[in-house]
Symmetry: C4
Subunit: 280 residues, 4 copies
């Protein structure tokens, strides 16, 4: 999908997924550090969030594959054209393959949430693999393009492979909030960089970029760092908000509990009073 929309759609998904991961991981971290001693069972909320995430991934991948295949100028599930002796729309097939692996990561998430037999960490392994395959296909995708086009796609490999490595590390180093937020941050960075690629290669205002100018390469490199700053800022803000919401919510629950105890003790003391008055 070589147009602005074709970069904005995956970009939006990655951006939203980054925010989702931030909120999910902060809530889990809050529960681990604050509530795990009081409540032994992990709350149902986390299971439900994982079901939603896994289900959504599978659904979105399926839709993505279908769109790539059956869009007007798509391959319509034909791989090889025997008449012309050539492959049919390999770009769409490559995108379908990428989506497939995000679908597989959704399946691993569902499996590890549902069954205790599936070893812990399989969900993160699935996500790491999906990012690896994305980076792997992009890497061999970039060859023989103009300078700026190749460079801007190469920079995309940093959040993709970085995310793959950090997610793989989560398989071994569990419940480390820095790794979890780093993953979220790299997804946000990836999402915003997809938008940037769209803006550079398919500019909306019409003024095209010179794809061979070294100055443009230098600017784009620096711009990538600014996106990273933004991603860090967004993760920091979202985390803070999510943490204070969690604190407030769990306090209110606490207050309600205490309030109920108070009420019950009041009623019991009232009862006692009544009984006392009866005895008089």
């Amino acid at each position: 999908m070589a147009n602005f929309g074709g970069h904005a759609i995956p970009g939006s998904f990655f951006l939203l997924y980054g925010f989702w991961l931030t909120v999910k991981n902060i809530l889990q971290h809050f529960w681990r550090t604050r509530l795990a001693k009081k409540q032994n069972n992990m709350p149902h909320l986390f299971k439900r969030m994982d079901y939603i995430e896994g289900g959504f991934k599978i659904f979105a991948s399926f839709v993505g594959i279908m769109v790539e295949q059956f869009v007007v100028d798509g391959p319509h599930a034909h791989l090889f054209d025997k008449e012309n002796n050539s492959w049919v729309k390999l770009m769409n097939w490559q995108h379908s393959t990428m989506y497939l692996f995000f679908g597989i990561s959704g399946i691993t998430l569902l499996a590890s949430t549902t069954s205790k037999l599936v070893p812990a960490g399989v969900d993160r392994f699935g996500l790491s693999l999906a990012l690896f395959v994305e980076g792997f296909l992009f890497y061999y995708h970039v060859h023989s393009r103009p300078l700026l086009d190749a460079h801007i796609h190469t920079l995309l490999l940093f959040p993709v492979f970085g995310g793959s490595v950090s997610t793989m590390m989560e398989v071994f180093i569990k419940e480390n909030i820095i790794l979890e937020l780093l993953k979220a941050c790299l997804f946000i960075l990836q999402g915003s960089w997809f938008y940037q690629i769209g803006f550079v290669l398919y500019p909306l205002n019409g003024s095209e970029w010179d794809l061979t100018l070294h100055e443009n390469v230098m600017f784009v490199t620096m711009c990538f760092c600014w996106h990273l700053t933004m991603a860090l800022l967004l993760v920091a803000c979202t985390s803070t908000v999510a943490w204070f919401m969690a604190t407030r919510f769990s306090k209110r629950e606490w207050d309600i509990e205490i309030g109920m105890q108070k009420t019950s003790s009041q009623t019991s003391s009232q009862k006692a009073l009544l009984e006392e008055s009866d005895e008089e």
Copy 2:
């Protein structure tokens, strides 16, 4: 062995080894998580499996080296031809070297199974080394070939070096089922990719591939991801089947035990009854 068979034979071995590793590791994982508390001693089955695996590796490597050396157009153990002042059949010598290291990995497995003096992890170190040497020789093997030929062999390096790294990690992170199944998966991937190389370079139906076409490179890259999907699926299915077989088998054993206890208690109660009736 530059023909289809020369790629299908190692491919088949790697495929079978991947399945063997899946079953072995799942059985060990089952024992670790379910039975290790009840039975203190590791069952003899695992020792016997390791003896079989080690012995087979040594035997197969020996046969492999012999075939490479004494096949009709082989070097017949001659390394340097003084008359022509040139090396004799270096390709066969390289393959022999690869087999040699798989033989060494077999020896380390036998050694660490037999003796408690050999430090735990030496077997995995040996396997990691064998994969490293395989990748090392392939890496310098690939130079100055046509585009597609070089590319398809380069892709082989992913499962080979990936397997070497993950097996090396097993030396330090022990009894991690994800690492163990990853290793098995990468062996299956390697095996199926050997077949793919055979199909592309020595097509059975006769229609040759254009080894310089960029489109073919793109397809092959994507095809590698599909092989990975298949490998993941095969490991997942084999694991599930092996796990349920293990559950069932251990249950039946359990039932037999309980049944025997029941029988014995029945007979003892019958005896008691008889005795009681005797006393009457």
Copy 3:
């Protein structure tokens, strides 16, 4: 800032920061190994040192950005010149971006010192990121320069990326004095190498270096190792001095304490004597 001063200023900062880190980490190590059992609370000194370090980083980054922007031949906060259709002073913008990330690392240090909610290790993650971005921008900075210029900047990437990796490892492996001193050593190396770059590219005595001579590249490579030797020696000496100062200081404190106890016991024995004499 393409002159000697432009390399000497960052060089001095990195050199001083390396010494500061050495002293700070040795003091912390001294406290961990000697005093942690006696005193439960971490002394206020360490908190104050972190506040000073964080505050200074933010201040220095702010000044650095302002100078890069509003120096006479700077971009004055203009990014794109619409008249000439070109970017304005991208080099200054790149340096500003580097400073920005050191500022962010200062913010993370302040945040993790102030609040217990910020997960431990965020400060080191921030510093690792700042070094990564510095190396990242330098890496794409170096293209298409003369041989020696490119080589001498490439060598700078060793302490930069080395420092980034070692600081990232500190996020996971905490309170390891070797890692901490390695980080300090790499900062000193980076600082002294900035000076070396200044001396080679903008020689003070006027005799210019031939930037294309292979011999010069060979010398510079070796010279880098000598700088490493010096950095190791400086860290070793500073550590020794800091350790003995800490031992002495903590002994004196101890002596004072004992002295005070003595005095108080003397006074109490004197009191007892007086009381005794009273009783007489």
Copy 4:
């Protein structure tokens, strides 16, 4: 020292150092697994071995530097020739720098053996650094040489950087016998490969190798794997011999102890008999 001897001398040192490391580490492993519970203090033998190793490294490095500097065609401590405006014998200076870092590694070993203040692991860090610097200088050393010369030196980087990485891992993963023997094995490999380089570049029998032939490159690559096999075999044999020597020696000590106990009990029983006979 561009002749056979110039490669054989460092080769011999590395070979011997590999054997020394094997024996030392096996003895330490024997003590850790067998005797550490009975004896609390580490035997003096290990301290003495470390003193010898450290002292020898410092001495050998010093001699090496002196020889490189003051050999007949050496630089005689002159670095820059102002008359010809050129560097003096940079190759010798580079070798001196390499020796310097092995000297530093000797100093770190002595320091960490002598004083408990020096953090554990500094000795391994020093050795890792020495190997890193050796590899670093070799890497930039190899440029613009004929094919086979460059290739055979590049292969040297595998044991050098491999040793550096595995020694660095020992800083964090302590008392792991596999890592320790891997380090020893890589030193033996490095030593024997130095000999191989000597044989190829300065053949003793006079028949020179064609440095541009691809076949030779292929053979040399394979030959490297054979050296690895030999190194593994040598480490395995040396380990086995050292282990059984240690077992025997410690048994004999045990027997002597038991013997002494026996003797003493015999004498005491004899005494008792005598006393009994006296009483009769």
